[in-house]
Symmetry: C2
Subunit: 292 residues, 2 copies
DNA sequence: ATTCGCAATACTTTTTCGGTATATAGGGAG
DNA sequence: CTCCCTATATACCGAAAAAGTATTGCGAAT
């Protein structure tokens, strides 16, 4: 029993005529007769009562017709679903977002969602180490990260935007209260709350280099693992910290503000990253190539 | 997309290997590769990730596999259902039963039901004219009737059993209270409640003939259309009546009893009848041929 | 680096499927 | 009642598709 036999059969059942069905399907009449006969032989049932005024369904034919039509429709739907999945218009994308990339990630994700509303999106906000672990485990498909000067191993990266590194502080810890921007020399001896640098995608290393070019080493007050914690530390007066410019707006207020650092040329890049090896599903592929 | 392609695909998905699937399906390996490739081309999706350690499903493949297995199972089930319908092990039979054939009909139907429990049975008890109308309209498929000496037109008949015609009466209307059986001459002048004879399958005609052979005409008290009414009339003392022997037991009691009529040679045949022209579904065919 | 295993490709053979021509049956008109 | 018309079934042929055999190509493991 093949799909084609079912289609022929249903056409004949609807037209109540082999000839009419043949015309509708753009084939000759004998093949239809033959396939119907084969189907009947295989099932061991007469599906039609042959009369000179056309073909009428038997009980068995009636049953086959009702279910057969549904069956053919199911097949179409099945193909369509898989096709959609392959082309990326449906499926799922699991996204990991680093806190400081939120200003890039959210508009991107939103635009993608508008374009492909049938793709399920899962979003996880976490620290870079966690995100990487989950990417490698396959629990996440793509990450919004910060790229440093180094190339990350085993990752495809796509730059979404670049930011100036800005100093954030409270009024009490402002190294240059009288100026609109802070000369880098003023950072000498100022306690800083830095994000840990054992991940490849931070900006600490380059920051340290910049300070050393100015002839001093920064005073590290403490290190933390995520941006929100660093913000809390700054707010509590532990010291100052650095953030990419674009994220500053979302965390400013409540006693915290940002200034540029004159002489700090280092910039931070927000990137979309995904695994170099390993398989990308259609929807993930679409996501990585998506242009908002 | 064909069923065969789906089957090949599912086998490969399960074995995670083209070669293993080929062995399982008793075909060579290249056809499997080719059909998979064709399927992928048609759907525009990679269904497998090819590695030297076998084939692994992609997301699209995963989806197709889950639904495809179900789909194939559905096809099997579809075939089976139609086959069953054709062979008569499932389906429906609409049965009309004449009151006086109940002792034959019920055991027959019960035995059929035991043999083919998946066949739906609809049973209607009615007067012969009604039953015939419904048979001709196609509302009923088979009838349990009484056959007279005449052949019924347009009906196949199958004799299920024969009965002596017995006289039923109350003590007050017994024409021969002192005898165990009634000589036919005693019926002279005895009022009778007869079933109407304008149907072909009654026994009135032959009964009248028998009386006339004995030299008298029966005194007709009244005529009715169905056995239960005749019974009520007898019970109420309108007169005596005739019934096939086998039904007498089910209606005896409550003042009514039966006696043989000596000299009445006419017998009544319980028959299973179905339309001569017109199409018989598998289950109806089975029913008509059924031997309890 | 070599070899082994497995999937893909090239090519041949067989089967199946569709097309043309024709036979056959049933119904309606004269 | 006969003829004809319509519609389905059958016969046969050519084309397309599928399976089989042989071979290549690619990765991984030793």
């Amino acid at each position: 029993m093949t799909i084609r036999q079912l289609e022929y059969f249903c056409a004949v059942a609807e037209e109540k005529s082999v000839s009419a069905a043949a015309r509708r399907l753009y084939v000759a009449q004998p093949p239809i007769s033959r396939q119907i006969a084969l189907l009947e032989k295989e099932l061991g049932v007469a599906l039609f009562r042959r009369g000179s005024k056309g073909m009428a369904l038997t009980d068995a034919g009636q049953s086959l017709y009702q279910q057969g039509r549904q069956y053919i429709a199911d097949m179409e739907q099945l193909s369509e679903r898989v096709r959609a999945l392959g082309s990326g218009v449906s499926g799922a994308v699991r996204i990991g977002v680093l806190y400081s990339t939120v200003p890039y990630a959210l508009p991107f994700i939103r635009a993608f969602q508008r374009e492909y509303p049938r793709v399920e999106l899962f979003i996880r906000l976490d620290a870079p180490q966690e995100l990487m672990t989950q990417l490698n485990r396959g629990d996440l498909n793509v990450l919004f990260l910060r790229a440093g000067t180094k190339e990350a191993a085993g990752l495809h990266e796509r730059i979404l935007g670049e930011d100036e590194l800005r100093l954030i502080m409270t009024a009490a810890t402002d190294p240059a209260p009288e100026l609109g921007s802070v000369p880098i020399e003023r950072l000498r001896g100022v306690p800083m709350c830095l994000l840990r640098s054992d991940d490849l995608w931070g900006y600490n290393e380059s920051l340290l280099r910049e300070c050393q070019r100015s002839g001093f080493s920064p005073a590290v007050a403490c290190q933390c693992y995520d941006t929100p914690m660093a913000m809390q530390l700054v707010r509590a007066g532990f010291g100052v910290s650095f953030l990419p410019g674009s994220i500053v707006e979302t965390v400013a207020g409540s006693g915290i503000y940002a200034k540029s650092v004159r002489g700090l040329r280092e910039r931070s890049y927000a990137v979309l990253a995904w695994s170099e090896n390993g398989y990308l599903s259609g929807s993930v592929e679409r996501f990585t190539q998506f242009e908002p």
